[in-house]
Structure formats: structure tokens, C-alpha cells
């Protein structure tokens, strides 16, 4: 059991001047893929950091599994927007750090890491340093670093935000493949509405700051009903009317949020 639950969570920064989250209630089921979209600064990253244990709620509770989150840990692997690979470690060293921290024996570790390298298609790059890889390759290493821990929960904060459009598409397709082969509970933050609809089972829309939940859109039922899985290419899915419809719905909902902003 590895659900995530936000229980009436509020979060303020800097002696209460900045209220980032206001009374958020949200439950992500075991093995569910939930994406959060919302205006910039609405508190998406804050949600993720609460679940990761980098921050703690001002009031309310965040539960993973059935335990309250008290510190970061390898049961909740994070994939950061800027990859956050250690530049001084090779691909293999980056991936195996978490396993070393668990004191896994060298031989077993090697096997696990090689499996992961295989999975992300980086054979031949085991000894490369991050700066020798393209952005897409780096992000694949970051994902492998998270996956290899076999975590209950994956937390991804705009993992493809730093990639160029074409690479991003490839990564999105790969993530879908991975998620189907090996499903996890995922909390996924993004600005891309298309991305959210393409990847997630449900999409949560947040209001402007202080962030509240505005609406949760169920994608899974439509995806299954319309058989999106038939298409392996994102642009084919994106041409489907059911997809366009969902996307436009979420867009509209977000635009309402936007008009009030001082942008």
C-alpha cells in the first residue's frame, strides 16, 4: 500500500507572510498516476516537497502509505526538473548511490544497476559523466536513479521542463512505456496541459496562490474508453478528438485562473 494523502494541508513561508497552500485535501491511490497543473507560483512544487519530506505542513498532515512524512527517504524517490545528477559521478555511480546507502552487496548492486541502464537504453554510457550526455539522456539517468530504488512512490517536478520540445516528446513516450511496464504511485507536476493529459490517470487543477484544489479531471476512464493505448506516438494521440476536448477543458479552467493575475 503506497497511497499519498494530503489531509487539510496548509503551508506558509517566512513567518506566515506567504501562504503557499490553503487547506488542500488530496488522495492519490496506490499505483495511480496523478498530475498537478496550475498557474506559476500556485504551490505545486510545495505539494511535492511536502510529500518528499523536504518541507513540513504548517497545519494538516501528509501521509505516505499510512505513515506521516517526517524526513526524505528512498521510499519516495524524487525526479527533479534540473535533473540534479551529481556532476562528479558517472552514470553508474549516480544510479548506484541509493543502493550503496542501503548497504546492498556489490554484486547484487551491479546487477540492479545494469538492469536499470538497460531499461533506459544507456548501454555504453555507463562511465560517462553527466556533462557528456544530452539533456534527455541526463533526465533518463535521473529517472533510473529513482526507479532503481524500487520506491513505493515517485515524485516528479516538471521533469521534462528543461528539455527541448522534441526530446521532451521522446521522454514522455518513454515514461508512458515505463509506467505501463512497472506501475508506481506517481505525483507528477507540470505546466504542460498536453503532457498532463497524455500521461496521467487524473489531473488536478490548482487555483492561484494560495493554492487550493479547484478541480480534478478523470482522464483514465476516457483514455480506456477511447483506446488511446492503441497509438504509441504522442502526436497521434494528440490528434484524437477526445484528447483535444479534454485538453481544451483544462485550458479553459486554467485561463480563468490566469486572467486575474498581474501578468
Amino acid at each position: 500500500m503506497s497511497s499519498i494523502r494530503f489531509d487539510a494541508v496548509s503551508k506558509s513561508f517566512g513567518a506566515g507572510q506567504v501562504k503557499a497552500l490553503d487547506d488542500v485535501d488530496l488522495a492519490i491511490a496506490d499505483k495511480e498516476f496523478l498530475a498537478i497543473v496550475g498557474p506559476s507560483g500556485c504551490g505545486k512544487t510545495t505539494c511535492l516537497r511536502l510529500a518528499a519530506g523536504f518541507e513540513f505542513p504548517t497545519s494538516g498532515r501528509v501521509l505516505v502509505g499510512n505513515a506521516e512524512v517526517r524526513e526524505p527517504g528512498p521510499d519516495r524517490a524524487v525526479v527533479f526538473q534540473q535533473f540534479a545528477l551529481f556532476p562528479w559521478k558517472t552514470v553508474v555511480e549516480n544510479i548506484e548511490l541509493g543502493l550503496r546507502n542501503r548497504n546492498m552487496p556489490r554484486e547484487e548492486r551491479r546487477i540492479r544497476v545494469m538492469e536499470a541502464v538497460e531499461l533506459i537504453g544507456l548501454n555504453g554510457y555507463e562511465g560517462a559523466y553527466p556533462h557528456q550526455l544530452s539533456g534527455g539522456m541526463q533526465q533518463r539517468v535521473a529517472i533510473a536513479r529513482a526507479y532503481v530504488l524500487d520506491p513505493q512512490v515517485l515524485l516528479m517536478d516538471e521533469p521534462f521542463g528543461a528539455l527541448d520540445a522534441q526530446t521532451r516528446v521522446v521522454m514522455q513516450e518513454e515514461l508512458v512505456r515505463l509506467a505501463r511496464r512497472n506501475p508506481r504511485t506517481v505525483l507528477f507536476i507540470t505546466h504542460g496541459v498536453e503532457e498532463a493529459v497524455y500521461l496521467a490517470d487524473r489531473v488536478a487543477i490548482m487555483t492561484r496562490r494560495p493554492g487550493r484544489l479547484k478541480e480534478i479531471v478523470d482522464v483514465k476512464s476516457i483514455r480506456e474508453a477511447e483506446g488511446w493505448e492503441r497509438y504509441s506516438r504522442i502526436e497521434d494521440v494528440m490528434d484524437l478528438e477526445s484528447f483535444v476536448h479534454l485538453r481544451t477543458h483544462i485550458w479553459r479552467s486554467l485561463r480563468e485562473e490566469k486572467t486575474g493575475a498581474a501578468h
Binding site: 526524505p72 524517490a77 540534479a84 551529481f86 562528479w88 541509493g98 546507502n101
Partner: protein, 260 residues
């Protein structure tokens, strides 16, 4: 800003600068505007330098003086690096330690290394301890400060990534903070080497039996200005060499850690 020059052109211009500098010096010295005791010409200084390579002055030849200076320097410098870098990293990781050490450090850094001369003599005498303390007090602050800054400025994402991977503290310091702060640490080691080397002359005020600083003081009292300037040149040259060595190290580390 006007773009990089190609190496050959750079070299020529650099040489032109040096030639201009020495030319001006020679011209002023030869013009007789300042007496020879005040400003001997570069040739005379060079000649004196060659002489001092094999003849003894103030108890040793120039290489001998340099050797004993360098020996003292390395001891004080290595000590400064060995204490400063780990302490700086720990301060970067542990707030409390930072809060305790920083105020002391802020107060002490305005005090010149040579101001420690009397205490150095009273505490450690003149064998090895005294001068080492003085060089240490020159080289220590940049070593500490840069390690500390480097550790503080480590992108928090790296630390968060490590925490998320369940990394224990000792490994976090050795495998995350240390490599991430390395460029800053090396820069600190470079500055520290410069300051430590500069403090040496101060150190050699109390250990008067050998060393380039001692040689200069003795030459000064004998109005051997050319010898004084040989001392300056030797100190300058060795300083440049130390800096070049550390720069090479810096460049190598930068290459290795260069991010995409």
C-alpha cells in the same frame, strides 16, 4: 569582452608588457634620477641574482634561503589547508558550528599575520612552530572561507537528491559537499597560498637565521639594494610558480567537473 586573442598574439603582447616594464625600470635606473642605492637597474639585479645562486650571503646561497623558506611555507600551508578545508565543510553542513565559528573568525581576519609575530614567539618560539603559526594565520582564512562558501553554495538540489537517496552524513560530506565545493576550495587554496607566501617575510623576521625574508632584511641594513630586489624577485617568481601550479590543478578539476 572584445573576444579571445589567439595564444601567439597573447604571448607577444605579454612579452611586450614585460619588456616595457623592465625597459622603463632600466631607463629610470640609468637616467641617474634616482641613485643606485635606491634603484639598481634590472641588469645589476640579474647579475646579483646569478651571483647569489652560488655565493653565500647572510648564511646561505639564494637557493638555500629559498629552500628553507619553502620548507616553512609548506608546513604552515599544509596545516592551514588540513584544518581549514574540513572545518569549512563542516561549518557549511552544520548550522550550529557555523554560528559558533563565524563571529570569532570575523573578528580575527582583520589582524595581520605579522601581528601574530610576538605571540608566535612567546608560544612556539622560533624553531618551527612560530613561523608556521604566522604562515598558517595568513593561509587559513581563505582555506576555511572558501570551503565554507563552497559548501553553502552547493545547489540545494544536490543535497536534497542525496537526502532523498538516504545518504548518511559522512557520505554526504565526502561525496556531495566536497566534490561540489571543490572549485571553490581550490580557489581558496590558491588565495591561501598567495597570502601564506606573503606572510613568510613576516615569519622570517623572527627566525632570522635563514630564509629569503631574512636575506632581504640583512641586505637592507647593508644597503645592498640589488640584493633586496633579488629577494623581491625571488619571492615574486616563486609566488608565480606556486600560483601556476595551483592554477593547473584548478583547470584540471574544472575540466573534470565541467557541467553541460
Amino acid at each position: 569582452m572584445t573576444g579571445a586573442l589567439d595564444p601567439a598574439r597573447r604571448m607577444v603582447l605579454g612579452l611586450a608588457g614585460l619588456v616595457g616594464f623592465f625597459g622603463l625600470w632600466a631607463l629610470v635606473a640609468a637616467s641617474g634620477l634616482v641613485g643606485n642605492a635606491f634603484l639598481p637597474g634590472p641588469l645589476e639585479v640579474a647579475e646579483r641574482l646569478v651571483t647569489l645562486l652560488h655565493t653565500s650571503f647572510a648564511g646561505g646561497t639564494l637557493p638555500q634561503h629559498l629552500a628553507s623558506s619553502l620548507q616553512r611555507f609548506s608546513a604552515g600551508y599544509l596545516l592551514a589547508a588540513a584544518v581549514g578545508v574540513p572545518l569549512g565543510l563542516l561549518m557549511g553542513r552544520f548550522r550550529l558550528l557555523d554560528d559558533i565559528v563565524s563571529p570569532l573568525f570575523d573578528a580575527l581576519r582583520f589582524i595581520a599575520p605579522i601581528a601574530w609575530v610576538p605571540f608566535a614567539a612567546l608560544w612556539f618560539g622560533t624553531g618551527f612552530g612560530g613561523p608556521v603559526l604566522i604562515i598558517f594565520s595568513g593561509a587559513f582564512p581563505p582555506c576555511l572561507l572558501n570551503a565554507y562558501r563552497g559548501a553553502r553554495q552547493v545547489d540545494p538540489r544536490y543535497i536534497e537528491a542525496a537526502e532523498m537517496l538516504g545518504t548518511p552524513t559522512h557520505r554526504l560530506i565526502l561525496e556531495v559537499l566536497l566534490p561540489a565545493a571543490t572549485p571553490s576550495i581550490v580557489a581558496g587554496l590558491r588565495i591561501g597560498a598567495g597570502l601564506g607566501w606573503q606572510s613568510l617575510v613576516g615569519a622570517e623576521l623572527i627566525v632570522a637565521s635563514t630564509g629569503v625574508g631574512y636575506m632581504m632584511v640583512q641586505a637592507q641594513s647593508g644597503v645592498a639594494t640589488a640584493t633586496v630586489m633579488v629577494g623581491m624577485a625571488a619571492i615574486g617568481l616563486v609566488g608565480v610558480l606556486i600560483d601556476i601550479a595551483l592554477r593547473a590543478l584548478e583547470a584540471r578539476i574544472h575540466n573534470r567537473l565541467e557541467r553541460a
